[in-house]
Amino acid sequence: MHRRAMKYRRIVLHSLFPVLRQFPADTAARMVSRIGQLEYALVPSLRQRFHQTLNRVAEHLQADWDIDQVGRELAGNQVRWRARDILLDGRGQDAIDRVIHAEGVEHLQKAYDDQRGVILLGNHFGAHLMPAHWAVRKGYPLRLFMERPHHVSRILSSEFDTDGPMGQRDLFISRKADPADSARSVMRAARVLKAGYMIFIAGDVRWTDKHTVAIDFLGRPYRISTTWVALAALSGAAVVPTFCRMNRDGTHDLSFLPPYHVAARAMTQGHAGPLVHRLFAEIERRIKIDPASSNDYFFWSEHDDPAYARNRLSDWPPANLPDEGRYAA
């Protein structure tokens, strides 16, 4: 969508949030979806773009989707996805439990009880910040290892300014940071994990350096960051993948998968490739079942992300990269 249109939609959305929060959370989520669905109905170019992309991916996945219905739901969910967890502000735990149905909590709890730290491995399928919101509400000591998300609930943003050795403020990363700053961030995150904290990190970040893994995702090639694998290897923390599906009725199905550990030498022994591939196979499997929760995966393009495009267009692979430094795709 055109950048200016996105900006106007964001302004409209944010002015509506105080009103929407007067409604039950699931009703408010459905109302937000209607905005996207209305755009889909009214803007032929948007519909055409969705149809083209959905047809391409459906063919690739050999999925029998009703393209128009998926397109309408996806357009609605994209707006809901961009509302992040704001609609949950000011609501009690009962209300949260009514709209977030969590399963596999025993996996998360088991990993947490081991006291070696937990990497809560998120992604951009469905409501991508809900696992963090849910974990904070449940009292888990959670830190985010990602760029600072804006326009989030007050409960999450209140966690963002915590200071000190285990504080959140110094854990936010930047795509513009130089490698030395990034290295310090990773070491800081490893220390936080070793103190038994939970770190929420996205496993589906497109990136370009020699540690990335090449994947074919929804029929297109990308390179994916392996920072989460490195962090798991360095810290010995358990990895718990999590997914949060957005349901039509405004509720969410939050799932935690069984934990696993990454070998300490995973990065040098070529384990990163298979781990990243396994994650994306799971994301793709879920997309095939529930394409309306795929948010912007179908529209991933290197042109959407200036940093990615800039790096990708530069010298790749670097001329001085030794063979043993290349990770198996």
């Binding site: 030395a180 290295a183 490195a230």
Partner: protein, 85 residues
Amino acid sequence: MIDSALLTSVVEHVRTVCKVSPSVQITEQSRFVDDLGIDSLDLVSLFLTIQDDFSVELDDKELAELKTIGSLCAAICSHRGVAAA
């Protein structure tokens, strides 16, 4: 001036851990990122290996100052209570 044995050892670590080509000259003044092209994850591996092998603990503030081979040697010396110069 850094102790030459320490410098040699640190340079060996850099070559091994960060896989810097033998054709690239590494000196006390070499910068990790700008001159040697070391990326963030290799830097993490390097710092962790240095911590283990030299029995030193580098804190956040020190890590922020580590830009060159020489600064890393100096940090190791300072933890060992040995003058770098």
